[in-house]
């Protein structure tokens, strides 16, 4: 016998009958067996009231999947497979609409990258031009990448090549004389790839003129606007007190091609995206950038919300940080550059030229002593410029009234001097017990082919390498300076007094009772004296 009695809906129904147990040798009546199988199958085919699936189909799908994929140790992961099959079922049944054929962004980006590889039609003309000009304008990004890779610094080779192609596009579009891969600054949403560029001379003048025209138009509009306002104000009754705050005189930015604006910078978010030119930097922006510390978002038009309020948007902040990093970390082997001999060596000299008699020092020396490296970008003064300018000079242009006021309030602006160009980096101050630079050789195992690597500790992410006559600077980082102390934002200035102190509105303590009585007595005395005088006068008459 077996178990039983079985109900018709249970599997095994009919198997408890004598002769139908699976252990008997006789072949039982096929009809009953078939019935049992049908019952079992019917049970398996029963649709679940909750999910609409049935076990039979589920097993079938699962076994198909397992036999197709044949994973190892299937019995251990059978539950997960079962779950996955159920999830797949679920999704298909819910969607009565067909999915739109989504093109993932991968393919769009691939299209853009492919566009980089296309050679333009008019390129042969460009090549001839370049030969006439002399040095190639396109930087050898791959060579630089190779050297930095020896130190473990740099982007992946693919990205470097895309950047090289993007530079080619830049050179073809803009009138560029020299061009260099400055580095990459990371942002929250997107990153920036930065090119340091010198435009051909004619082009810069045109742009300056355009900028000046824009500025004068703006000034004229402002003056007209102010004239109208003044007329209206004279008609009004007493006005609320005006602020006596006089902003410090605006320090003019340095001319294009000198100081902080020596180079023009182009940025793009990714190779393939269009290059955008960054505006020249003003001293106010540099001074403010020194006081704030903000992440870049990756969008050039993003506002910078900070205190002190940054005069500009992210494009200006980016430009200011680029200027600071260049001034602080662009170095070359000592002696590679020299001051031009024909010009007098002024203290504020900004020009340098290559030294044809430069003898490269061996790598071991470059690593040992920091005196073998020199800055070739002028440092930025506290004022925000490389060359100091007296801000009070502007008062000659203002009206006479203003001049008088300014002379009274004039502070003594001390002339600031910075370190001259081509200072050795051994003069750079460290912070607490951390030197400003760390020098290493790229490898100790193979000294014949090692190169000297410099890392800046003041601007983490700034690197330089030197090998024989080749050297290069680069920056990979978030764009912030290192400070051993935490960043403390500037405090707001104390609130201005609303009204200037005048006797009419100054508070005084109320007189006490004694004072009042004394005053009254004094008044009465004066009255009495006056009456006596009048009486006297009356008597005279």
């Amino acid at each position: 016998g077996g178990h039983g009695p079985y109900q018709p809906h249970e599997p095994g129904y009919g198997l408890d009958q004598p002769g139908y147990s699976p252990y008997e040798d006789e072949i039982p009546d096929p009809q009953a067996r078939m019935l049992a199988i049908k019952n079992a199958k019917a049970y398996l085919l029963k649709t679940s009231t909750k999910s609409g699936l049935n076990l039979y189909d589920h097993f079938a799908t699962m076994l198909t999947k397992i036999l197709d994929e044949q994973p190892e140790n299937t019995v251990d992961i059978i539950e997960t497979i079962s779950q996955d099959v159920k999830w797949a079922q679920f999704r298909k049944k819910m969607d009565t609409l067909r999915d739109e054929h989504l093109i993932p962004p991968t393919f769009e980006a691939a299209e853009k990258s492919k566009a980089l590889f296309v050679k333009e039609v008019g390129e042969e003309d460009h090549e001839e031009l370049d030969e006439e000009m002399g040095e190639p304008a396109l930087p050898n990004v791959m060579e630089t990448a190779f050297y930095f890779e020896q130190a473990g610094i740099g982007l992946s080779k693919d990205e470097c090549y895309y950047i090289l192609l993007a530079f080619k596009n830049l050179v073809n579009v803009q009138p560029i004389q020299t061009c260099r891969f400055w580095g990459k600054i990371l942002g929250l949403e997107m990153n920036y790839i930065i090119a340091e560029v010198q435009l051909r001379e004619g082009e810069e003048e045109e742009e300056e003129r355009e900028e000046e025209e824009e500025e004068t138009v703006a000034e004229e509009e402002k003056e007209m606007g102010e004239g109208e306002e003044e007329e209206k104000q004279k008609e009004k009754e007493p006005e609320p007190p005006k602020s006596t705050y006089k902003p410090p005189p605006e320090i003019p930015k340095e001319a294009n091609g000198t100081g902080t604006n020596k180079y023009v910078y182009f940025v793009c978010n990714e190779p393939g995206k269009p290059w955008v030119k960054l505006p020249p930097v003003t001293p106010a922006q540099i001074v403010c950038a020194r006081q704030i510390k903000k992440f870049f978002t990756g969008r050039l038009d993003a506002p910078i919300v900070s205190f002190p309020p940054f005069p500009g948007n992210e494009a200006n902040y980016l430009r200011a940080q680029i200027a600071r990093i260049s001034a602080g970390t662009h170095v070359s082997p000592t002696g590679f550059y020299q001051f031009p001999e024909d010009e007098e060596e002024e203290e504020g000299g900004d020009t340098y030229e290559e030294n044809p008699e430069f003898e490269p020092s061996p790598v071991a020396e470059m690593v040992e002593s920091l005196a073998m490296w020199a800055h070739h970008v002028k440092g930025i003064l506290k004022q925000g410029r490389c060359v100091w300018i007296n801000p009070v000079q502007k008062s000659e242009e203002d009206e006479e009234e203003d001049e008088e006021e300014e002379e009274e309030e004039e502070e003594e602006h001390q002339e600031e001097t910075g370190q001259p160009l081509l200072t050795l980096i051994s003069e750079d101050e460290g912070m607490k017990n951390i030197p400003a630079w760390t020098a290493q050789a790229s490898t100790n195992l193979i000294p014949e082919y090692s190169i000297a690597i410099l890392q800046s500790n003041r601007w983490p992410g700034a690197y330089a390498f030197a090998s024989g006559r080749k050297f290069e600077n680069i920056y990979f980082g978030w764009g912030h300076k290192y400070s051993p102390e935490s960043h403390t934002p500037a405090l707001p200035p104390p609130a201005e007094a609303e009204f200037p102190t005048e006797p009419g509105i100054t508070e005084a303590t109320d007189p006490t009772v004694e004072e009042e009585l004394a005053f009254k007595a004094a008044q009465e005395e004066a009255l009495a004296e006056a009456e006596e005088e009048e009486d006297e006068e009356g008597e005279d008459d």
């Binding site: 994973p71 992961i77 997960t80 497979i81 996955d84 993932p104 962004p105 991968t106 393919f107 769009e108 980006a109 691939a110 853009k112 990258s113 890779e149 020896q150 130190a151 473990g152 610094i153 740099g154 982007l155 992946s156 080779k157 693919d158 990205e159 580095g183 990459k184 990371l186 942002g187 929250l188 949403e189 997107m190 990153n191 704030i292 510390k293 903000k294 992440f295 607490k432 017990n433 951390i434 030197p435 760390t438 790229s442 490898t443 195992l445 193979i446 890392q455 500790n457 983490p460 992410g461 990979f476 980082g477 978030w478 912030h480 051993p484 935490s486 960043h487 934002p489």
Partner: protein, 275 residues
């Protein structure tokens, strides 16, 4: 990141500009398998590199059968000779938080605690030890802190068995592109602290075998992760803004993921001002 997939992984995190020189890569390829053999680890991960002023520390982690168990950490100055680090203690963590500034690059360098925190120095003196903290201890504490704070894995990559041990999910096929852009698809690979605080609605969607860790959604301050799609969406890169230098990568719809740290080993305490 997995020692075996080091070359591809390094090229995926190279967007930040930090990486390893060919010499170090070659050295790692030979020394990490030896470490695995000597210490009988099941897996060896290359954790990253902490830059000191005079030298750098390269860190590797070895994992046993339970991936969530405390990991063994090793450090090396040249990627060839590895030394095991002792596990981090709470005391070490507390002391190391006081020490600020760059690592020196010399494991036996001693920070004088008397200058930094007189109380802690006094306590140490009382218990009979010198009021110093060695750079090695600081290194151990820093690595532990970084792992706790920003060591992340994608959701579903690890499963918890009913016995409590954690294994890689062999059925993990990667996050989809949509999921990969969300912070909630990534978990801290540490002891979950506030798993029970979720609302019932959220808990209903969770799967206890895969959702046993904290997700990144509730990290303080908000916005302390930067998610970017690189290479046109074929790689998702998360960069931590709290520990600058921690980069996590994942190729959607594949099993590839990992994180690595290339940095100075200092917490970015200015983060709230910078966002």
């Amino acid at each position: 990141m997995e020692a075996l997939s080091l070359p591809t992984a390094l090229s995926l995190v190279a967007g930040g500009g930090a990486g390893l020189s060919p010499e170090l890569r070659a050295a790692l390829a030979t020394s990490l398998p030896l470490v695995q053999r000597d210490y009988r680890f099941e897996r060896v991960w290359f954790w990253g590199c902490i830059q000191g002023v005079r030298g750098a520390y390269y860190i590797a982690q070895g994992l046993g059968p339970d991936r969530a168990a405390p990991r063994s950490r090793l450090y090396s100055l040249n990627c060839l000779d590895w030394s095991l680090l002792t596990p981090a203690t709470e005391e070490m963590l507390a002391l190391a938080e006081e020490v600020k500034g760059r690592f020196q690059g010399d494991p036996s360098f001693e920070y004088s605690l008397a200058e930094i925190n007189a109380e802690a120095a006094a306590r140490l003196v009382q218990s009979g030890k010198e009021p110093v903290i060695k750079e090695e201890a600081r290194l151990i504490a820093t690595i532990e802190e970084i792992d706790r704070a920003v060591g992340i894995v994608p959701r579903g990559a690890f499963v918890k068995t009913p016995l409590g041990s954690v294994h890689e999910n062999r059925h993990f096929e990667g996050l989809s592109l949509v999921e990969a852009k969300k912070l909630s698809s990534y978990f801290h690979f540490t002891e979950p602290a506030n798993l029970k605080n979720k609302t019932l609605l959220e808990k209903a969607d969770l799967d206890p075998s895969t959702d046993f860790l904290n997700s990144l959604e509730h990290d303080i301050p908000q916005g302390s992760w930067s998610i970017q799609l690189e290479k046109g969406g074929s790689v998702v890169v998360l960069r931590s803004l709290l520990w600058l230098g921690l980069t996590f990568y994942h190729v959607p719809m594949t099993k590839q993921f990992g994180y690595v740290y290339f940095g100075t080993g200092e917490k970015n305490l200015d983060l709230p001002f910078m966002l």
